[in-house]
Each structure stands twice: as structure tokens, then as C-alpha cells.
């Protein structure tokens, strides 16, 4: 027998989600565009998830869910599970494309001559950081009202812009030139940063979920 959490997750996928969310996973392929700020792909993945939240509001999904025999916190948990589900898929895809770019394609001309941040463990750390911003600023912001989407999206977009600019500036800073190597350099350091950001992603998302549960208990629908 399925748990309430699994049933709500199925409800998210079959009723609340719109097709743009999985479709926007294709944006992970932007990793293969030469000389392009690759984190835009991660931003697009978040935008895909945003469209399902928009559908959530338009189709009164929250009201429908509240009337089901579930606790309010279950509804918040299901939304976070849905978001993390797509973020993890996107992260795995980004990981696969990164390995391909760093190994099989590192010497390919347009990639070898690029001046922007190439796919690397550090790039993946930035992807996770962008997803964390989405979970805290957008999803957490949404549960202030379970209705308003505009402000949370704007806050997330501003954070995303700063993240993308920071990621693209970093390789040009003194002592950070090694980050431009398409085959990867000082990988130990890069993987350490990736691990650290992963810990932040998990911790930050859990904190955001807890805050959202508290907020959602108090708001009037």
C-alpha cells in the first residue's frame, strides 16, 4: 500500500504538473553550446518547474489537496519532493553531459578555445547552488501565501543572475585561470567544493521545507 506521501507525489505528477516541466529538462543539453553561460540551462530547468507551480495556482491544486485526507504538512512535503525530483534528474543529466564534455570532447576546437566556465565539478556545484536558491527563494516564497508567484520568481531570478555572473567571472580572477581548462584541473579541490555545496543544498532545502510547513499551517486559503 502506497504511503500518503507517495500518493501525493503521484497526484503532483498526474494532475498538478504540466508537460513543460519534464520538457525543460532538455535545457540541460545547453551544456553542449560552445561559449555560452551554461548555468542558463539550470535556470531553464527551474523555469520548467515554475510553470507547474503556475498550473498549481490556476487549477486550484492547493485547495484540492487541502480537502484530501492528508495533513497540511504532507502537501508541502509533496511539493518539495516534486521539485527535488526534477532537480536531481537535471543534476544527473548535467553530470553525464559534463563527463562527456570533459573527456570525449575536451579537445574539440570550439570547446577547447572557450573563455567561459566549462562543464566541470565546479560548474555542477553552481548548478546545485542555483537549485538551492530556487528551493529557498521561490518554493519557500510561494508557501508564504500558497498563491503569489511573482515576487518569489523575481527574487529567485535576481539570485540566479548573480550566481551566473559570479560563475562566469570566477575563471577570470587571478589564480583561478585553471577553471577554464575544459579537461578539468585541480579536480580534488573542485570535488570538495561540489561536496560542500551538496551539503548546503540538502541542509538549505530541509530548512526551507520546515519553514514552508510552518507558514502553510498558518495561512488562510
Amino acid at each position: 500500500m502506497k504511503s500518503i506521501s507517495s500518493k501525493l507525489f503521484v497526484k503532483e505528477l498526474q494532475l498538478a504538473q504540466i508537460v513543460l516541466t519534464p520538457l525543460f529538462l532538455l535545457a540541460t543539453l545547453m551544456v553542449f553550446i560552445p561559449n555560452y553561460p551554461l548555468l542558463v540551462g539550470a535556470f531553464m530547468v527551474c523555469l520548467g518547474i515554475f510553470y507547474s507551480f503556475q498550473n498549481t495556482r490556476e487549477q486550484q491544486d492547493i485547495i484540492y489537496s487541502v480537502l484530501l485526507p492528508v495533513a497540511k504538512r504532507d502537501i508541502v512535503s509533496a511539493k518539495y519532493r516534486f521539485v527535488c525530483f526534477y532537480e536531481i534528474i537535471a543534476f544527473v543529466l548535467f553530470g553525464i553531459w559534463t563527463v562527456i564534455r570533459m573527456t570525449l570532447m575536451s579537445a574539440v576546437r570550439p570547446y577547447a578555445e572557450g573563455s567561459l566556465l566549462p562543464p566541470s565539478p565546479l560548474f555542477l556545484a553552481f548548478v546545485l547552488f542555483l537549485f538551492l536558491c530556487f528551493n529557498v527563494l521561490f518554493v519557500g516564497g510561494f508557501f508564504r501565501t500558497a498563491w503569489a508567484l511573482g515576487k518569489p520568481l523575481i527574487f529567485f531570478s535576481i539570485a540566479a543572475l548573480f550566481t551566473i555572473v559570479s560563475a562566469e567571472t570566477l575563471p577570470h580572477l587571478p589564480g583561478c585561470g585553471f577553471l577554464k581548462n575544459p579537461a578539468g584541473e585541480r579536480l580534488g579541490l573542485q570535488f570538495s567544493v561540489l561536496f560542500l555545496v551538496f551539503v548546503f543544498y540538502v541542509g538549505g532545502t530541509l530548512l526551507s521545507w520546515k519553514k514552508s510547513v510552518d507558514r502553510f499551517e498558518r495561512i488562510d486559503l
Partner: protein, 249 residues
Amino acid sequence: MSEIILEVKNLCKDYENFRLQDISFQMARGRIMGLVGRNGAGKTTTMKAMLNMISRSSGEVRYFGMDIREHEREIKQRIGYAGSQKGWYQRKRIGDIARITLGFYEKSDPQAFEKYLGLFSIDPKKRVLELSEGMKVKFSIALALSHHAELLILDEPTSGLDPVSREELLDLFRWLRDEGVSILFSTHITSDLDKCADDITYIAKGQLLASAPMDRYLAECREKGLGSTLEEIMISCEKEGNFREKHLF
């Protein structure tokens, strides 16, 4: 007195421009109760607070002897709700919504759902947006009955319906009552209550004016010279403004 299945005690909700004050009433099993009042009187706020959709400032709501805050999941297994809103998931098919919804209920009965769809002439392959307002209410009721809800809470189910559909819905309420289902429905259409309500709870400007069996309420209002039908009583009370003094049930 039959078993009390719903008890609302001193329910209060404060908004900036509106206050729901000390709403208290009880509902027994197998009864139809009309929650009546003008537009904006506080009927929907009362229902939302009862369903834990809004936080209440104070007061208590108990179903089947259990507090909604502490036993939300168990209580919602046993009740059903339908509102007058445009409906959920407009572009999804009835059958798909029902399959997912019924999956949440321990006593879900897909065969009963098919039976009710047949009874209400609703095609499960239709999308929600293809249903008329009356059909949407019937669909919500079919869903609620298919998990054997013991209490239906309906927020203005008859508003926006043509007279024939309203009559059909009221027939359905009477049939459900005979089957042992309790119904609490809000309305400002007093003729609906005349036709099927056993009890009435009257709210005006966020305050409870009366909660009593319908026949007793009508008799006492007649004695006080407030009118002989619900419509007359409502008009006389709401017009005069000092309604509170005239209503003491």
C-alpha cells in the same frame, strides 16, 4: 437525540475588515442543515474554518467527537466537500481525477463511483471544463459518496444553477438523507431550505442569529411577527438592522 457528528463551539475568525464571532452549532447524523445568510455574512468563512482551510482565532471544531486540528486525516476520510468554485484541474478527465482522488481514501469504492456517475449521467471521459455547474457539483458529490462520506459539506451548491438542476440536486439531498448521509450546505436561496432542510443555522454580519430545527425556528419567528417563510424572515431581520435582539434561539 441522534449522534452528534459535528460540533462547532465559539468559532471566531478575525480579518481586517470582518469578524466571525462566536459561531456555535451542532449537527446530528442523518440530518440536512442549511447554513443561511446574506452574501458576505460569513458562511464560507465558517465552512473554511471548519475544514481547517483557514486558521481560526479561537474556538473548536469537532467531527465524530474528534478535534479537526488533531485528527485532520481521520476526519477527512469520513467527510466530503463540494464548493461552488469553477472546479479543479479544468482540462483533466473526470475518470483520471476520480482515480487519483479515491486512492487517498481507505473506504474508496470505484464501483460505487461508476454507479453514481451513471445515476448523474456524467461521462468519465469528459474533462471538467466540459461539465455544467450543476454537473460539477454532482461530480464532487459522487466522489464524496464513493468513499462513503458520512457528512457532506457543500458551499453554495445550488448557486448558479437553473431551477430544474436545483430541484434535481435537492431531490438528491433528500435521497442521501434517507441513506443516512448528513448534509450541511450553505446558501442564500431560502427556497432551497424550505424544500429540504431539517435544521437551520442563520449567520448575519459574522454573528450567529439562530441554530435550531427548521419547524421550531419558523414557528417562533411567526410568533414574533418576523414572517412565515424563511425569505420573509430574512428580509425583515436584515432590513431592520437590530436583528440580534429579535433572534434568540
